[in-house]
Amino acid sequence: MMRLPDFELRRPRTLAEAATILAGEGPAARPLAGGTDLLPNMKRRQQTPRVLVALGEIPGLRTFTNGAALAIGAGTTLAALAADTRMAQYGALAQAAARVASPQLRNQATLGGNLCLDTRCSYYDQSEPWRRAIGCCLKKDGDTCWVATASRRCVAVSSSDCAPALVALGARVRLVSREGTREVALEDFYRDDGMDHLVKRPDEILSAVDVPDAQGWRSTYWKLRRRGAIDFPVLGVAAAVKRDTAGTIEAARVALGAAGSRPFLVPQASEALIGRTLDDATIAATARRVAARAKPVDNTDFETRWRKDVATQLVSYALRELRGEDLGAIRRRF
């Protein structure tokens, strides 16, 4: 059996108490939300924190308010998020949440956990004996990146579905520590470094996600993976557009996930879309420019070249859906 390593479990009842524990314990302590990413990683000894601070009994982390903007408690489960009627205006997030993993995992996994997901790599997400057999890798206990042996940087891939969706929606996250609360735009929450991919400090807790009012916007999320369930994204495309009554695009944000060590906005997409309508030529030109920014490396499922080629298709699907085409039949293949 693959058992968890031992640790001390703390179960605070308030966010302040959790922040105090993390401040006192230092980097050897980790917050535990749904556990669906951290616990498998601990079973494989990729991470072995000495203390886990369970956040599940902090009631404030599950609040969900809908004023001018949407404030989502980081402890909201992905299942609750995907089922919430208030999400209708935030299509990309609802679709992303509904496509994470499997029903059971969505019942456990939280939005905050999905945003803080560890980066993944075919040389890292393996059992400890497997990793030791190749002398480990840069990300954990080794000094070579087996994906790009000349690389001094870890290229493990950001595999969150909700992150690109929320980047496209212009979300911000709240980080709480004993020193107070700071807000960070989600696109600035990530670094392009597979080993150190979050700007969140070890003593900070991601407590909430603020999504600006999406009045007048339409958004969508497309996910590439081998199977229609369970799998992490091999590519994620989130697109949001705001059009005037004539259909001219006033604002647009396209973000890619699983195309690097962080989810990122593609400013070239906004340039290609603003002032135009979602006609075939605009969609084709935008898709080419977005796909040019996807630089997959050979550390996940599918052949690298094909993953780059298919990015053009996925962006086209997203934009065609936003102009009102029914792509249900194509969606069901993903």
């Binding site: 059996m1 693959m2 058992r3 968890l4 390593p5 031992d6 640790f7 001390e8 479990l9 179960r11 535990l32 556990g35 669906t36 616990l39 498998p40 079973k43 494989r44 000894r45 000495r50 886990l52 369970a54 599940g56 009994e57 299942a79 993993a101 499997s102 029903p103 059971q104 995992l105 019942n107 456990q108 400890e128 229609g228 369930a229 369970i230």
Partner: protein, 168 residues
């Protein structure tokens, strides 16, 4: 795997409910709900498969929601309601889902069956009349390497009809 470099965390008392019965165990922090059910409580109906959240064999209901018991810490279940496959049958009478799986070949080697049944139970509690696409979606987190899934979908659809009181 040798974890002897650290002192063992203490066994803490932990009380929760399993299939409507209160249980009290004492376990270390690292013990999962799956390990508590199988090793502390002797309820081996819930299977351990991949232990990494990828196969669904260990699915149980926690406060009515299907979860993977291999990724739930037992101590975080204190005060909560756990339902396992052992709680489905009413004495000698099989639950309609169990009867349908048996009658329609929804179970072959049987290893995925407890998890499938619990996923199906959650689905039918929320949606008494799911179509086949919804059934497939609801068991998307449960791997079966024998049946090809068709008989499982048939069995869940049949059980749903029985539970709605429709003639079989």
């Amino acid at each position: 795997m040798n974890d002897s470099t650290r002192p063992a965390s203490p066994r803490e008392p932990c009380e929760f409910s399993v299939n409507g019965e209160p249980v009290a165990i004492a376990c270390a922090a690292h013990v999962t709900l799956l390990e508590a059910l199988r090793e502390e409580l002797g309820l081996t109906g819930t299977k351990h498969g991949c232990e990494l959240g990828e196969c669904g064999a260990c699915t149980v209901l926690l406060d009515g929601a299907s979860v993977l018991s291999c990724l739930v810490l037992a101590q975080t279940c204190a005060g909560r309601q756990v339902e396992t496959v052992e709680g489905l049958a009413d004495g000698p009478g099989l639950h309609p889902l169990q009867a349908a799986f048996a009658d329609l070949g929804g179970s072959q080697c049987g290893y995925c069956t407890p998890g499938m049944l619990m996923s199906a139970k959650q689905l039918l509690a929320a949606e008494p009349a799911p179509d086949r696409a919804r059934i497939r979606e609801a068991i998307g987190g449960n791997l079966c390497r024998c049946t090809g899934y068709q008989q499982i979908v048939d069995a869940i659809a049949h059980a749903a009809a029985v539970m709605r009181g429709e003639p079989a």
